[in-house]
Symmetry: C2
């Protein structure tokens, strides 16, 4: 029996029982799943070693994160996740247990949001590469990036910038403290690290916004609030204005920034890896969004508005500066 | 505008016009496509630099091949391709034109078989990695690996082993001839190279077999006829017997093997990268398969049978030897 076949056998044994619409799971040439008629919402996102995660990342956590970043894309569309495929390329030196641990993490994170692992592919590579393709169905009408209108208010979930702080912490050499950061409490450090390593995709929020038709446009914040606000603005043909004083800065981020000699606002605007939802809402629905946030227990903050024009700008007092280039560009210089 | 956004704009301009069920194409958080109710057949397969293709591979051809190997999986299920997602990770040194060329090749190869590029992801990486997720719908009942029965006959399409010969030719240092191979005609060399670089997925054959319910089981031959016959046998709970004298050896492969001092049968059994269909057929339908092959203009040859037992064996005269380990294992030693 070949290693790839052994992997499939172990994977099948590790997957949760119950078929739930899965007619053919891992182990054939393709997966076969049942689905109702109507639109299918599908996304793919890959994590590459040394670009999207650190070389010694724990494989189970890597699998969780690979699925989470895809769940975040579906959340931004207001779509309910159904199934995903998982490709893992890795060096032989990692051992046969490595892809199984990645798959276990991925399957567990998918199950949290109703997405089942239906199949995948393994390959050799010099560096680790994990690619997920995830699909589902729109809860109501899909929420696009392009539906924003001048006058709409901008909201963001959670605490942008925490993941960027967590990445700095994750990069610490093992057993050593970063200069100035020894005063950070364990609880704050754990919260920031978790924001980077194990993001919580905003699937319940995205589904709720779609169900109640509250968001005119939405995007998941992966490259930084500034860049992604610029993308929503561009797709909608408007300008996004973020109000400095409204940005949700978590106490942990504020403490981190003070100790590290960094600016918490800059981290929130340009940090990346947040996987929060940024969405626009007609003013008449703003109060309803705040109600829904309470009801769901998902923190949501109004941080700005859309107006005629283009780009994304940060409003500080009465001055504005462009922030649509203020984040992580996978194709330009790193942050 | 970020490089990733420029890519999406250029890609949208390059894609064929007409929406054909695509409600939201590349450029949002996820793709949205229409589809009818019923089973969805989905697969993913990745190509990794230096493992699945040579470092200097032409990007457009790389895109074509990445889609073709996925189309081959759907063909083996008897499923009609509909849409695919494309992830490209590449070093910055390749330039911004590189992913566009990969995507152009992928889109063109997909269109050949009715599969549209719906979205994807770009990432930086040290080595090139191309991952495709493709889905479609079963033409009738999906053909599984597990439906073969003792007594069924085994058929294969095309000319296994040609791709392995093509790989040897592709590895030639530029401008230099391989020892002994200078007598190979240009036409033969071109045919073998094409079998490796630009495989022809057997989608029409797979759909036809499903429509007429002729195949009891099928698998696409990617790791070698021996390994993949072993997989079909294992899934079906039987033994596969390949008859040496029945193997379809192309004149180009026979010439190549003679000049290179290799054994054409070994190359056909253990070569890999063929992307042909291996399928089992109840004896009562064998004549019908040969008729369909004529009708479709797709070469198909009866090469063996299934019997009680396990493994895959090559029958040479009256002796048999195991061949279920005789190919390329992505997780063991290379061929």
């Amino acid at each position: 029996v070949k290693a790839e076949d052994r992997f499939v056998e172990r994977l099948r044994a590790a997957l949760a029982a119950g078929t739930g619409g899965m007619l053919v799971g891992p182990g054939d040439d393709a997966a076969v799943v049942e689905r109702a008629a109507g639109p299918l919402v599908a996304t793919t996102d890959a994590l590459v070693e040394s670009v999207d995660f650190l070389p010694e990342e724990d494989p189970e956590r890597l699998g969780r994160r690979a699925v989470a970043v895809n769940l975040s894309d579906l959340a931004a569309m207001g779509a309910r996740p159904e199934f995903f495929l998982l490709t893992i390329a890795f060096p032989e030196s990692k051992g046969e247990g490595f892809p199984l641990a990645v798959a276990r993490g991925a399957a567990a994170r998918g199950e949290d949001f109703g997405a089942r692992l239906a199949g995948g592919d393994l390959s050799r590579a010099r560096e680790v590469f994990v690619c997920v393709a995830l699909w589902g169905r729109p809860e109501a009408k899909p929420i696009l990036r392009s539906g924003g209108r001048a006058g709409d208010l901008l909201f963001v979930s959670g605490w942008p910038g925490q993941a960027a702080a967590g990445l700095t912490l994750a990069r610490r050499p093992a057993g050593r403290e970063l200069h100035g950061l020894d005063e950070l409490s364990e609880a704050d450090a754990a919260r920031l690290l978790a924001a980077y390593r194990d993001p919580d995709p905003r699937v319940p929020l995205g589904l709720d916004l779609a169900r109640h038709e509250l968001a005119s446009a939405a995007i998941d914040v992966s490259d930084g609030l500034g860049i992604d606000a610029g993308r929503l603005a561009r797709a909608s043909g408007v300008r996004a204005v973020l109000e400095r004083d409204r940005l949700p800065l978590s106490p942990a981020l504020i403490t981190f920034a003070r100790l590290a000699g960094r600016d918490a606002v800059e981290m929130a605007i340009g940090g990346g890896d947040d996987y929060e939802l940024l969405f626009s809402v007609p003013p008449s629905d703003a109060a309803r969004v705040e109600e829904r946030s309470q009801e769901l227990g998902v923190p949501v903050r109004r941080i700005g508005f859309l107006e005629p024009g283009e780009g994304a700008f940060l409003l500080e007092g009465s001055s504005r500066r462009p922030v649509h280039d203020a984040g992580f560009d996978h194709f330009g210089t790193a942050r």
